[in-house]
């Protein structure tokens, strides 16, 4: 048997062993994610409920008001939708462009005359119910919503939809990054002394200290968030200690704001920064600092010129991982933040379960996914895939 054919056989057996997992992940992970991305651009709701209007508007020039036929089509569609109780769905879809259209469509459907046979002029009828029908804007919104694809959710996610609240998701995105970067910076700062301490002791004490690092890591994020709730509230443990020590006279606001989110997020993510740094420090010969010192370097210059550059790979690995993880946190800000401290994951869940705007939820999730994947590939490239540990 030649070496080549042995390698080939090894590859085939290897792939056969991997195949079940690939199939499994395709079903439970990869395809669902792909389907979600498709959802962010698909747009079929309105055409299903207002087919006549979609056809009538196909020949519209987009400049002037559409003709009477289009008005009659909208009226017929909305009357049928009211009967089927689907007008709300059509209104919701039109409302993605502007909340105003949602109200217009619902109230038109609600106010259409029961007996349509006496109506000769649908344009006047619709305009008298809702004056918005007399302007081209809502017709443009209708024409754009005919599907089957749309860019409206992606544009909304990027703050480019032009509506009055269009800055919301840009704000959220910026906020998500600011919180993640702050948490990463705090984690790295705190990780240095902790990792140093861990790397400088040995024996049973080292095991014990390691446990203090790992126990929090093993404890549910939910439990830890609840504990911070107890510690940080106005009459919480921390405020009572601070006031007993006369550090502050009145209790500080530590919860339902950015402070609470950052404290809890740091607590959750810190171990991920300490562990790689600890590994880097552990592998460093102690003699180096001594050498630096014997050459006349002070402790600080020794730290910055000799020590830091050598642990930098561990530091950046930890920092990158902390940042990636921080971007995706949902529970911690939910329990400890105010309304202005919620990150992208909150809005993904909000639009999925509460606002019923799945296209927007999928767009936001797609954006977060892309950023995460890019950073993850960067990590794999810089640190190596065999060192990915969460």
């Amino acid at each position: 048997m030649t070496i080549d054919s042995a390698a080939m056989r090894s590859n085939i057996v290897g792939l056969a062993l991997i195949a079940p997992l690939v199939i499994f992940l395709a079903f439970t992970f990869l395809v669902p994610l792909g389907r979600m991305l498709v959802l962010s651009v698909s747009d079929t709701e309105l055409a299903a409920i207002m087919p006549r209007s979609v056809i009538a508007l196909a020949s519209w020039d987009g400049e002037t008001l559409p003709d009477e036929e289009a008005f009659a089509a909208v009226a017929a569609d909305l009357a049928a939708a009211r009967e089927d109780r689907t007008a709300g769905t059509a209104a919701r879809r039109l409302g993605y462009a502007s909340a105003e259209w949602r109200t217009v469509l619902s109230s038109t459907a609600r106010s259409l005359p029961d007996d349509a046979s006496s109506i000769t002029n649908w344009q006047d009828t619709l305009v008298s119910i809702e004056p918005a029908w007399g302007q081209a804007k809502i017709w443009h919104a209708l024409a754009e919503a005919r599907g089957p694809f749309t860019d409206i959710h992606v544009l909304t996610a990027l703050g480019m939809d032009g509506g009055p609240d269009s800055g919301l998701y840009v704000n959220v995105l910026v906020r998500t990054f600011v919180i993640a970067i702050s948490a990463t910076a705090i984690c790295l700062l705190l990780a240095m002394p902790a990792a140093y301490l861990l790397s400088s002791v040995s024996g049973p004490l080292a095991g014990l200290l390691m446990l203090t690092l790992l126990l929090p890591l093993w404890t549910s994020v939910l439990v830890r968030s609840t504990s911070w709730l107890v510690i940080l509230q106005k009459n919480g443990i921390l405020n009572q200690i601070l006031m007993a020590l006369r550090i502050t006279n009145a209790p500080l606001d530590l919860i339902y704001n950015r402070t609470g989110v950052l404290i809890a997020l740091t607590h959750v993510l810190l171990p991920y920064a300490v562990l790689p740094l600890y590994a880097a420090m552990k592998s460093l010969p102690k003699s180096q600092m001594q050498a630096s010192r014997s050459l006349g370097g002070g402790p600080l210059s020794g730290f910055f010129r000799v020590y830091l550059p050598q642990v930098l790979p561990g530091l950046s690995a930890g920092g990158l991982m902390v940042f990636i993880l921080a971007l995706g946190y949902y529970i911690t800000p939910l329990l400890l933040g105010g309304q202005g401290d919620q990150m992208l994951p909150f809005y993904i869940a909000y639009n999925t379960l509460q606002a019923l705007n799945w296209g927007l939820a999928a767009s936001l999730a797609g954006g977060l996914l892309i950023v995460t994947v890019i950073l993850y590939l960067l990590y794999v490239r810089l640190v190596g895939v065999e060192r990915v540990r969460v």
């Binding site: 057996v13 290897g14 002394p193 929090p216 549910s220 107890v230 590994a279 329990l335 060192r387």
Partner: protein, 265 residues
């Protein structure tokens, strides 16, 4: 000069101790309150009582959720351990340039924010009737748990002494016998620690559970989330105390296996 060095070392260690305390102490802050007599979750305590622990063990919804969590976590282990172990051994045999890409994709469920997986699974599973069932939750949990098994087994497998297997083969053992008698014992610590990681990943997970479970399938973290959001009383803290004890138990188990968390660097 010498003194200043010593000063900095002591200062750094002191800071290190403070940081470790910052990590550890919050876990214990809630334990006393779980024994509070009143219903408001705040110090000072109004009296000592075990009523909230009694409430937990006598409330069907807490007991159901513990049962559901155990079933889901156990099934997740049963599903993810064979899949992950086979894939790790498969990766071990691969010799081509794209190997690290394959590995990166297979462990990506561990990295991708859970909310994204949860939303994707929600849209995908619901039309198939897999929402509102423990099966759907188990499948989704296995997807996020399998990377832990893969990584654990891979770490052990890549460091094993391959000469033993070659010796076995050259002595005439079939590949299966080699696997069972030589490879398997060598990678067993990796499998066991992978299984513990997988169990913990499922046992802790709340976001997917929030999306795809109904009232009958609520898991412990899902019930705990309801507790903190909708129904905050000390029974939530009693459950949290129980969870901390379980976590500590898992950690001790992991250390007994000897497969200490292999550190990234």
């Amino acid at each position: 000069m010498f003194d200043s060095m010593k000063f900095w070392t002591v200062l750094t260690r002191l800071a290190g101790i403070l940081v470790l305390l910052f990590l550890l102490l919050p876990l214990f802050a809630i334990i006393p309150l779980a024994f509070n007599a009143g219903s408001i979750v705040s110090y000072p305590m109004t009296g000592l009582s075990t009523r909230w622990f009694e409430a937990v063990v006598s409330t069907p919804r807490w007991l159901n959720s513990i049962g559901n969590s155990m079933i889901v976590a156990a099934a997740t282990v049963a599903l993810s351990v064979p899949l992950g172990t086979a894939a790790a051994l498969g990766l071990d045999r691969l010799h081509f340039a794209g190997k690290s890409v394959v590995m990166a994709i297979l462990i990506s469920p561990m990295i991708v924010p859970v909310i994204i997986t949860a939303v994707g699974v929600y849209f995908f599973f619901a039309p198939m009737g897999l929402a509102n069932s423990l099966l759907g939750l188990i499948l989704a949990h296995s997807a996020i748990a399998v990377p832990y098994v893969l990584v654990s087994v891979n770490a052990v497998a890549s460091q094993r002494d391959r000469r033993l297997e070659r010796a076995g083969s050259s002595l005439g053992a079939t590949p299966f016998v080699v696997f069972r008698t030589i490879t398997m014992p060598l990678i067993l610590p990796g499998i066991v620690s992978g299984a513990i990681f997988a169990f913990a990943a499922s046992f802790d997970e709340v976001v997917i559970a929030m999306m795809i479970t109904g009232p009958d399938q609520k898991t412990l973290p899902r019930e705990l989330l309801s507790g903190t959001r909708e129904n905050l009383d000390p029974s939530v803290l009693a459950v949290a105390t129980i969870i901390i004890a379980i976590s500590a138990g898992l950690l001790v188990a992991l250390n007994l296996v000897g497969a200490k968390r292999k550190v990234a660097g």
